[in-house]
Amino acid sequence: MRERRVAFALVLAALLQTPAFTQTASVLQHGTSPLITFRILFMTGSAFDPTGKEGLASLTAAMLGEGGSRSKAYQQIVDEMYPMATSLNWQVDKEMTVFTGTTHVENLDRFYGLINDMLLDPGFRQEDFTRVRDEAVNFLKVSLRESNDEELGKEYLYNAIYVGHPYGHHNRGTVSSLQKLTVADVRAFYREHYTRANLLLGLAGNYPSGFAERVAADLATLPAGAPDRKRFEPPPLPAGSRMAILTRDTRSTAISLGFPIDVNRASPDWPALAVAVSYLGEHRSSNGYLYGWLREARGLNYGDYAYLEYFPRGMFQFTPDPNLARQQQIFQIWIRPVEVNTGVFTLRAALYGYDKFVRDGLSREAFEATRQFLTKYSNILTQTQSARLGYALDSRYYGIGDYNSYLRGALAKLTLDDVNRAIKQHLARDRMQIVIVTKDAKPFQDAVAKNTPSPIVYNSPKPKEIMDEDAIIEAYRITVKPQDVAVVPVERVFQ
């Protein structure tokens, strides 16, 4: 608890810093690049959706980024952006809404004129509303439920963990709530939340002298407003582990598991857990413990990774998008789809491997290698101007200063004991939330209720140590009570 209070105080302190020349809070990274990057951030998001109007924050951002302004229809904006090859992109998470765009400096005035108009004088036309709402509904109903079992499982895990919490719905809303929303709802959300109090301007590149001041002054015409600085508590999750099996007609089985943690980037234990989780399963790296154990040694699937922060769209991206900062995060393991007949074995193997990792911690050698990796890898995470700017905005939110310097400094001071203590302190073994996407729930139900063994047959001989370990794994107890297994037909998810 102590850590979280410190973190929250830091967030407040960071948000209250404002440059002297204007009322607009900003992070400016003037540089030599002819590409000018905007990140215009509002500290609001889907956690501020009114009850029954889930998806409103997201739809409001879509109306600004993919809708017309008062003076220009959306088509006219698209036409004007076209020769510049630019667009205004939007992203909504629980506590952050960001608009991003990059233009060549030769087109700066034209591009800025358009986005200024879109953000400060939106048109809120009914035809734009109908289109972006249909797009949101189809995203949930078709793209997520029916075309991407991995993202489905990952997003449902958050829903399962945050039941009854402001984080408890998908950022895009639910199918039924979206259908009830109106343009009037969007206008009201915009008025209340798109305010100076919530704004943080990010600008980078070789923009001309006086340009940042001009943008800041324009944005200062937004209403002053009151900041959305709500304190979000950990989710009210009952004790014990749970399993949700989402059933749909699919040829493989996707698995996600995790639980809430009391640590975010501002917490003293974050660097220690970052080392632990990178060792366990760095995103899309063949270097992680789980990857080596499940994919390389056993060929069970395409990859296996672990996370300390929300990382949507992980199957399409090698590095995370910035500006997804949250007070509350979860620890998560992502097991990529496996053959249906190895689903239960893989789940048991993941749980066994995780338990072993928590019990044994890191060796000195693994600790040193992972620390060295993370020290250099931050250069890769921040390789583009847009990423550097995004990380800087997030650092303002968390109150940690420049991300790379912060991480390098913290890693240099870290000890093996810090990491292994943080694992024991923060990584639970008794409240794992498990989400399965598969066509047949029964093998999982049987494994839970009767501890039915799930032996595995390989297509090639395996070393003795793997066979010995497998003999334990095939009957490894999944510590979920039968009454805590829910079978959910996919059409009910995000409904």
């Binding site: 690049s33 002819p34 590409l35 959306y74 036409d79 076209y82 020769p83 510049m84 090859a85 630019t86 990059t102 233009t103 060549h104 087109n107 035809e127 109908t130 289109r131 249909d134 189809n138 078709v142 439920r145 029916e146 075309s147 079992d149 991995e150 040829r251 493989s252 996707a254 063949s286 270097n287 080596g292 994919r295 390389e296 040694a297 060929g299 069970l300 699937n301 395409y302 199957m315 090698f318 990529r336 789809p337 496996v338 053959e339 290698a369 060295q372 990796f373 993370l374 020290t375 250099k376 890898y377 931050s378 250069n379 890769i380 390789q383 583009t384 101007q385 390989y458 297509n459 090639s460």
Partner: protein, 455 residues
């Protein structure tokens, strides 16, 4: 392009550049060049080519190794998917480095390393901090020349490939593409996707011997270009390339890729999808191969944006006004052989499928008869220039943008040549090119819908 002609062109390039070494200065303010970074091209006697692009982005280096082996080269029946399988096997250890040793080196270097495969190429990359240049070169060079994997590791890795097939299989578009390509191509290897047929992927564990043969054929210096972009010097990169890749022996294999015979009738296909989804429509015509010398491909590249891009008349009508689609896209990549120009549409309501198909077909037909608007053409040229310039936002991004062109012509200069052709294309060129390729007999239409939505 016929096979014979392709070989002639390839041979000309070899002759022109043997033992050559040339450099290019950064473009000045008056240059119309799009790729303005200075670069060097060096050819080793064994046929390997090095392209070095020093940038002013500090610390990072992107090492891309592009091998001219893709699913296009998979000519034997039952052996689809092996170029992609190799992308996996290359991480299973070499004579001087076990997978664990390689992983440890990459981990110490804080490296981002991965690979990808498409129809025409396999691309391996490592992005890392400049102080690890020598060690990364050494470990990379070893696996290209001395890959070593036993049969058990091979069998395990082939299951990871099946895992990849599985994770893709939830998306209806994977199946749509499988059916589209096998309907459109009857002789050429573009008939199968890069993942390969499921039955071939399932048979991979039994093909250890064939996998060794595949490596022997394609993992050779004459198939390979090393691209180094970032905080490096030309001399430093050349020295390491000679040191670590200089002893690599040239091979002798050339795949006999069957030329696709001209299509003589319009073709259709349909996929019945087992679970709920929105219907998809794909309308494809065989288009020209990549060229930086003739205007056919550049003309259709421009038309692709004009006819189907986000401010095309069709997009405006179907997505914004009638709102019958929530997705309209085009795929028309750069390939060494003629491939498909495909418009894809995701339709919101199954009752609109026929109408959407008619509107898409009318759009193709329209541009065979009408010249595009000159102002729209100029705006599209501008868009393509800025779109390319906006991608150049880091050393890895520059390397990623260059790699596909490196496969095609082995030099960044092809980018400037092809963008120069964009400047020369006229509205009449576009109309004439559309009329040449968008004919009924050259067309393949594939739809996908759930059983209830299938007529």
């Amino acid at each position: 392009m016929s096979l014979r002609r392709w070989l002639v062109v390839a041979a000309l390039f070899v002759v022109a550049f043997v033992a050559s070494r040339y450099g290019h200065a950064a473009g000045d303010a008056t240059s119309r060049n799009l790729f303005t970074y200075p670069y060097n091209v060096d050819d080793l006697p064994n046929g390997l080519r090095l392209v070095t692009v020093p940038t002013d982005y500090p610390n990072l280096v992107a090492l891309y190794i592009v091998v001219r082996a893709g699913s296009r080269d998979e000519v034997e029946p039952g052996k689809s998917g092996y170029a992609h399988l190799f992308e996996h096997l290359m991480f299973r250890g070499s004579e001087n480095f076990t997978p664990e040793q390689r992983d440890a080196i990459m981990k110490r270097a804080g490296a981002d390393t991965n690979a990808s495969t498409n129809q025409d190429r396999t691309t391996y990359y490592v992005v890392f901090s400049k102080e690890d240049l020598d060690e990364v070169f050494k470990v990379e060079a070893d696996r290209f020349q001395h890959l070593k994997y036993g049969e058990p590791a091979y069998k395990t890795e082939s299951l990871a490939v099946l895992g990849e097939y599985n994770k893709n299989s939830a998306a209806p578009t994977q199946k749509l593409d499988e059916v589209l390509y096998e309907t459109a191509f009857k002789e050429h290897t573009y008939a199968h996707t890069t993942m390969g047929y499921l039955k071939d992927v399932q048979d991979m564990p039994n093909q250890y011997g064939y996998s060794l043969e595949f490596y022997n054929r394609f993992y050779r210096p004459e198939y390979t270009t090393v691209l180094v972009v970032g905080d490096v010097t030309h001399d430093g990169a050349l020295e390491l390339t000679k040191k670590y890749f200089g002893a690599w022996a040239r091979g002798s294999y050339e795949p006999k890729i069957p030329a696709e015979q001209p299509q003589m009738e319009s073709r259709t296909g349909h996929v019945e999808w087992p679970s709920p989804t929105l219907p998809w429509l794909a309308v494809a015509f065989k288009g020209p191969a990549y060229s930086d010398e003739t205007k056919d491909k550049p003309a259709l590249d421009l038309l692709r944006e004009i006819a189907f891009g986000e401010n095309s008349d069709l997009y405006r009508r179907l997505v914004l006004q009638q709102q019958k689609l929530d997705d309209l896209g085009v795929d028309f990549g750069n390939h060494p052989d003629p491939e498909l120009f495909t418009a894809y549409a995701r339709i919101k309501d199954v009752k609109d499928v026929d109408d959407v198909r008619a509107q898409v077909l009318q759009t193709f037909a329209r541009f065979t008869k009408e010249n595009v608007d000159q102002a729209k053409l100029d705006a599209t040229r501008s868009r393509m220039r800025y779109s390319f310039a906006l991608r150049m936002n880091s050393s890895p991004a520059i390397a990623a943008a260059l790699a596909p062109y490196i496969l095609l012509k082995r030099t960044p200069d092809t980018i400037n040549k092809v963008f120069e052709l964009y400047q020369q294309v006229t509205p009449e060129d576009i109309r004439a090119t559309a009329a040449k390729y968008f004919t009924e007999n050259n067309r393949t239409v594939v739809t996908l819908a759930t059983q209830a939505g299938t007529k």
